[in-house]
Each structure stands twice: as structure tokens, then as C-alpha cells.
Amino acid sequence: MKPAPFDYVRAESIPHALEALAGAGADADGDASILAGGQTLMPLLALRMATPSVIIDINRIEALAGVSRVAGHNGSGATRIGATTRQNHVLANELVKAHVPALAKATAFVGHHQTRNRGTLGGSVSLGEPAAEYPAIALTLDAVIEAHSSEGIRRIDALDFYLGAYSTALLPDELVVAVEYPDWPADSVTIVHEVTRRAGDFALVGLICQLAIAEGKVSRAAIGWFGMGATPMRSLAAEKALKGVSLGDIDPRAVAELAISETEPLEDKHATAHYRRSVGTKLFTRLLSAAVAERQKP
């Protein structure tokens, strides 16, 4: 349970980190890993499932941490979260609570208090664990992932980011610098829930649903899942079906069944695909019914 030897580079700035990344790529057997919070990488190193030749530690780069408000792409605002912002800081941040409530709710499910003190938002988003909360939140809320390399800056839509389990559109010489979450109307309905065997485990079934409501109708819907496929999943057909529907006319069971039909859950020793679909359908039906009822209260 000891990591294999590697070279350790403490990056002092973003350019320094990018230079180290580019340098590692130029090396024939170069295999660099970025060390952010380390709450996934360190176990992989200990188990020797990862044996990088270079570790680039980005924890001391001050410019990578913090939450700010920025202009969004459609005229509204967005919340920008630096890659090394600790998960417990995301959890406690007032801007996140006010503008990205789904992220705040999801963070309470991420790991444990002790791992959230080190674990970062950017680390989880860029790793792309299909049963983790952060990749699914980014996907569901149409977040934009900003990646830097020595070649320049790319802004990648989360919809284009997750290619497979732990496989993302990030290139080997790119570093995730920040993730931006576009604003939703402040009175949107936000549902985030997951089913796990123990607190802090990866989700067997994880659900995110956000509904913008205007004049009693759904003006916009976003539905996402984690633990329900090889990547985080979106239920785009169910979102479309909800759009324009009056709250009183929503059939939660039908919405949940349609949404679940768009997922591709895998089988493993913890749960069959059938179980995941069944739990996901019941969970979504129950939470959507409750959220709609709550919103319709006079």
C-alpha cells in the first residue's frame, strides 16, 4: 500500500503547472498526473492502479481556488468555481447556496467531512467518475469547463465532456482551471438525492432535477443521473416532455419512467441494472410529486 516512486513538482502558478504538463508529455514515457485534493488519486497511487512518472501538485496555486460571479453566455450570470476549491468550501459558500443550490445540495453527499476538507471540485469534475455527484451536476446544469494548456484556453460544454467511465474530452496537456454554472431563475425547483449502501459511498442511484417555473408552467427542465451508466446521464426526452406543462398536469410516474428509459445502468456486485432502474423510477416519482405539491401550495 505504498505508492510507486514518482517525481514530484509543486506548481507555483498556472503557467508553471502547464509547463510541467507539457514537459511530461514531451517525454517518451511521460505520464503526468495532476494532484488536486488527492482523495481519489492517492488511493489509486496506494493501490498502484496509477503509477505516473510525474505528479504535479496544484494545491499551492492561489488563483485556482475560490468562488466568484461572472457573466454567463446568454446575458444572465454564472457562478465560477476554481478547480482547487475544497468541497467543504463549496458546501459552505453563500454564492453557491444562492445561485447553484443543486451543487450545494449535492456536495453534502460527496464523500465524508474529512475527505471534503481536501477534495476539490475540479478534481472530481475532471476525473469523471460516473457514480459521483459533481460530474453529474456539471452535466445537468450545462456547466462550462475551462481547461488551459500551453496552447491556450478551451471552454468545454459539460455535455461534450464525459465520453466514458473516467474518460473525458480533456487532453493530456490540459488542466481544468475552473467550472462555470449558468444561473437558473432563483425560484426554480431543485431536487438532488441519492441512494447508497452507506453514507459517503458512491451512489447506486443518484438523481438531479431542476425545473424553472413561469406562470404555473415548466419553462425549462433539466434531469440528470449518476450511477446510472458509464458516464453521468441526461434525460433529454423527459426534459422536453416536461417543458410547457402546467404543474397540475405533471404525471410524475410517467416523467420518471420516460427519464429512466434514457439511462443505461450497469450491473455490478452491489446492484443489478433492473434494481437501479426500479429504485430510480420510484425515487424520481416520489420526489417530483412532493416538489410539485410543495410548489402548488397556496
Binding site: 482523495q39 475527505t115 481536501r118
Partner: protein, 163 residues
């Protein structure tokens, strides 16, 4: 192999050393700093036995490299009690409420509770259950730990009420 020179404050002592990049903070504390009270259980972030205070926050010492802690202030179970042996309130409460049996997970549990109670003073039972979920205990169970933590939260609440 490159060695990195680090200086870490451990329980108030400044310890300088040259370490390999791959040395974990947990191994450093046990083997190089004499803090064998830091218990390594799973060594991959699951069990919580190795939890220490890193600049005041409870973190798993097996999930950090020693070189990352250069310049940091580390607290371990061995620095909690007073020099004359007087137990830290969390240690005393764990003893009073039978919060331990074999003692393997205990240093980590105590470090988490000390950090959370210091920062939050009067955490709710729900919050205490949440932070204790970051630890595995295979003998006593968690009820004694929870009683110990609740007794301290209640004491803090009473003290705040009296002030």
C-alpha cells in the same frame, strides 16, 4: 530519486526532514516524527483511523503526501492532552461514555471530534452522525462516540447560555 526538504510543525514541534515525493503524511508522522498514535488502517482513505488535524481541519493523513504538508501545522492524538497528562475534553468524554474498546480507530475519531467541536462548538446530533460516518469502528460501535460528542456539544451550549 529526488529528496524534498520539508519543515512541518507537529504537535507544536518543528520537524525538518528530507523525504521522497511518494512518502505519505501518515507514514511520515509514524516513522519519521514518532507519532505512532496516528494509526494506519486501510491506507487508502476508507477507514479514517489516520485522521489528523491539518491547519485545524480533520483530514486523512494517508491521502496526503508528506511533501504537501511542508510549512503546515499538524495536530495528532499525541499532542491533545496537557503536558501533565490532563486529557483533552474529547478524550475525557470518550472515556466517560465508553466511546472506545480496542482503540484502533480512536485516534482518528478523537481528532475529527476535536476539530469539529472546536470549529462549530454546538453541532447537532445529525451533524455529529455525519462527521462520525467518516470513521469505521469494528468493535464498540458508534453509540458511545456519539454520546461523548453530544455531551460536549451540550456542555458548550450550557456554557454559552450561562455566559
Amino acid at each position: 530519486m529526488t529528496l524534498h526538504r520539508i519543515e512541518i510543525e507537529v504537535d507544536g514541534d518543528v520537524i525538518a526532514a528530507e523525504v521522497e515525493g511518494r512518502l505519505t503524511l501518515g507514514d511520515f508522522l509514524r516513522d519519521r516524527a514518532g507519532r505512532t498514535g496516528v494509526h494506519l488502517g486501510c491506507e487508502h482513505g476508507v477507514c479514517g483511523a489516520c485522521t489528523i488535524s491539518f491547519n485545524g481541519d480533520a483530514v486523512r493523513s494517508c491521502l496526503m503526501l508528506a511533501v504537501q504538508a511542508d510549512g503546515a501545522r499538524i495536530g495528532t492524538i499525541q499532542g491533545l492532552a496537557e503536558a501533565d497528562g490532563t486529557l483533552h475534553p474529547v478524550q475525557a468524554a470518550m472515556q466517560a461514555e465508553y466511546g472506545l474498546q480496542c482503540g484502533f480507530c480512536t485516534p482518528g475519531v478523537v481528532m475529527t471530534l476535536a476539530s469539529v467541536l472546536e470549529a462549530e462548538k454546538t453541532p447537532s446530533e445529525e451533524r455529529l452522525r455525519d462527521v462520525l460516518s467518516g470513521h469505521l469502528c469494528r468493535c464498540t460501535g458508534y453509540q458511545g462516540m456519539l454520546r461523548a460528542a453530544k455531551s460536549l456539544a451540550i456542555q458548550a451550549q450550557t456554557a454559552a447560555g450561562d455566559a
